[in-house]
């Protein structure tokens, strides 16, 4: 069995990579992918703990995260599409109208 520490470490690395993608990438679609990566790291960590402790709560949590992640991305894509129709770009740097 894979040691728990490895699992936590792997999930943490994946999570940090996702967070970095959200913060650093300029393309909104890639930013959404970063969010998905973060949520998948969370799922991995839940499944890992769940298997390790033979407890079902983690599995249930993962199902919920799945659904919510899909809804989030659905709404995200819808907002991006309507913003693209208005601005003709998907670059975060161009979305700066809300600032004095």
């Amino acid at each position: 069995m894979i040691p728990l520490a490895h699992l936590v470490f792997f999930a943490s690395v994946l999570f940090v990579l996702g967070a970095l993608a959200v913060v650093l990438r300029r393309n909104v679609i890639v930013v959404l992918m970063g969010i998905e990566l973060m949520l998948n790291a969370v799922n991995l960590s839940f499944i890992g703990f769940s298997r390790y402790f033979a407890d079902q709560a983690g599995h249930v949590f993962v199902l919920m995260v799945f659904v919510v992640a899909a809804v989030e991305v659905g709404v995200g894509i819808a907002i991006i599409v309507s913003l693209f129709k208005l601005r003709h770009t998907v670059s975060i740097d161009q979305f700066d109208q809300l600032r004095n």
């Binding site: 999930a11 909104v28 969370v42 703990f49 402790f53 407890d55 995260v65 995200g76 907002i79």
Partner: protein
């Protein structure tokens, strides 16, 4: 497992179900009732307001009549004093926000079905989050609350600024959700290592307290991530970056709703997880929260000074108020928690009153946002100007109004609390309230002491918005006149938090005391 094990006490969930059913009904009205848009907007805002008021009434009268903690639905759902208080605040804000929305929707010629339904769904999410007894429920409530708000922020689809606000809220909100979830997963792992894997809030808190003072890094990391995820929704510095932009780009009624109800819900969740005595200290969050409070009060107030847009000024002021309320959490005493509850209600009343006046003054294409658009409104609309002045004075903390009592209770709790630097941060809070007088009074001065420059736009007042504004203003004054009764109620409600955490901790302690000593045995397969 049979239905009986699940303990389905539907009576506890009536407010949530009412609000959800009203949302579905609004959607059905949108697709089936053949009527002019004007009438349909009236029907839908009416349904929404009535449902929220009915749910608030049920919460306050039926659920609030019996004290004590009641759980149901397989230990996922809890109704106690804390839940009843915050549900009432949220439902009241939702009712007022739907009354305010009618005018904005009419100005922008939008059909209201999706808008009102999303408002109701978001409200339902808040209610679930406030009643969460399990981190799964907390997470689901948070998302049911947030996702409709992302759409609502962007509901003016042809305005690039509004859609931009929605996108910013979505991206940063999802980032915060990621933090929150990862924190939960780490805490889940921690409870597993302590011998009893669980996502139940009471179990997690008990496990943390049991391992105090040497809480392992896993739990500390999880606690910090969870805390950051919640503090983001409150809008505390340095997790406030989205606040001014999103508040500025969203429709006025949604800005009011977000600044009030989302904040109250997030505070309820923070209290539910971190409000038990010793939890903040055990997770080493106390110093972090201290720094957050100081930063939030300073940055919020100083940034609000520099704003020329009233809406943006109110956004920064909401950051500052988040700082004051967090002070109550920081104090952590019974008085501090009661002050948090009281302030959430008071802030809801005064902020909605302020936004209501702005909605009243706004016309299509003439959104009142800049300060100079308020010039001389005292002669044009004396009643609205008076309400705006009252709400500004209350936000500032002028004596007989509710804002004064809120700040007084918070600062008093901090002064009497017992942690290093408590006097210093209370002094900082008072100083910062003094600073805030400048930008709040500026609004009053502009509206009373200068002549109108632009001709008044043709005006079509809205009954709904007038009612909402007047109600909020009346609450600002009335709670201010009888603060003692409300504070006593808040204290009772906060009592349940301490009582329930105290009841849970020793019980779990005894049952799993042996499991702690033995190192956990992972199953081998």
């Amino acid at each position: 497992m049979t239905p009986n094990d699940l303990d389905l006490r539907w009576g506890l969930m009536v407010p949530e179900l009412l609000v959800l059913l009203a949302g579905v009904l609004v959607l059905l009205v949108d697709t089936t009732v053949k009527a002019p848009d004007q009438d349909r907007r009236g029907i839908q805002t009416g349904i929404s307001t009535l449902a929220c008021l009915a749910a608030a009434g049920y919460t306050a009268v039926v659920l609030g009549s019996t004290s004590g903690t009641r759980t149901g639905f397989g230990e996922l759902f809890v109704v106690d004093g804390l839940a009843v208080w915050f549900k009432s605040v949220v439902l009241l804000s939702a009712a007022l926000a739907s009354l305010m929305s009618e005018r904005w929707l009419r100005n922008h010629r939008l059909t209201s079905g999706g808008f009102i339904a999303l408002l109701l769904f978001s409200t339902a999410g808040m209610l679930y989050m406030v009643s969460a007894a399990d981190l799964v429920m907390l997470f689901l409530g948070l998302e049911i609350m947030s996702i409709p708000l992302y759409v609502l922020a962007a509901s003016e689809r042809r305005n690039a600024r509004a859609v931009e606000a929605g996108l910013k809220y979505l991206v940063l909100g999802s980032l915060a959700t990621g933090f929150l979830l990862f924190g939960i997963s780490l805490l889940y792992g921690f409870t597993g290592l302590m011998g009893q894997p669980s996502t139940c809030i009471a179990d997690v808190v008990a496990a943390v307290l049991r391992s105090a003072p040497d809480v392992p890094a896993l739990a500390v990391g999880g606690g910090i991530l969870l805390f950051v995820g919640m503090v983001f929704k409150v809008g505390a510095v340095p997790f406030h970056m989205w606040t001014p932009d999103v508040y500025e780009g969203s429709p006025m009624s949604i800005t009011a709703f977000m600044s009030v109800a989302v904040k109250a819900t997030a505070f309820a969740a923070i209290l539910r997880v971190f409000g038990g005595s010793g939890v903040l200290e055990a997770l080493r969050l106390h110093d972090l929260l201290f720094a957050l409070c100081a930063l939030t009060m300073v940055v919020g107030n100083v940034a609000a000074l520099a704003q020329s847009s009233v809406k943006r000024m109110l956004a920064w002021s909401s950051v500052a108020h988040a700082g004051y309320i967090l002070l109550g959490v920081l104090a952590g005493t019974q008085d501090g928690l009661a002050a948090v509850l009281f302030y959430s209600l008071g802030y809801a009343a005064m902020n909605i009153a302020a936004f209501g006046v702005l909605v009243h003054l706004s016309e299509k294409g003439h959104e009142v946002e800049r300060l100079d658009q308020l010039r001389g409104i005292a002669t044009r609309v004396p009643l609205q100007a008076a309400i705006l002045a009252v709400s500004m004075l209350s936000l500032m903390g002028m004596p007989p109004l509710v804002g004064f009592w809120g700040k007084l209770y918070i600062f008093r709790a901090v002064v009497f609390a017992d942690f290093p630097g408590h006097i210093a941060i209370a002094v900082l809070g008072v100083l910062m309230s003094a600073v805030s007088a400048y930008y709040y009074l500026r609004v009053v001065v502009v509206s009373y002491m200068s002549d109108a420059t632009a001709p008044a736009p043709a005006h079509r007042p809205s009954f709904g918005n007038g009612l909402a504004t007047a109600t909020a203003a009346a609450l600002t004054v009335l709670i201010g006149l009888a603060p003692g009764a409300f504070l006593a109620l808040a204290r009772d409600s906060a009592e349940s938090l301490r009582a329930s955490s105290a009841a849970v901790a020793p019980a779990v302690d005894a049952s799993t005391a042996t499991a702690v000593a033995v190192s956990p045995q992972p199953p081998r397969r």
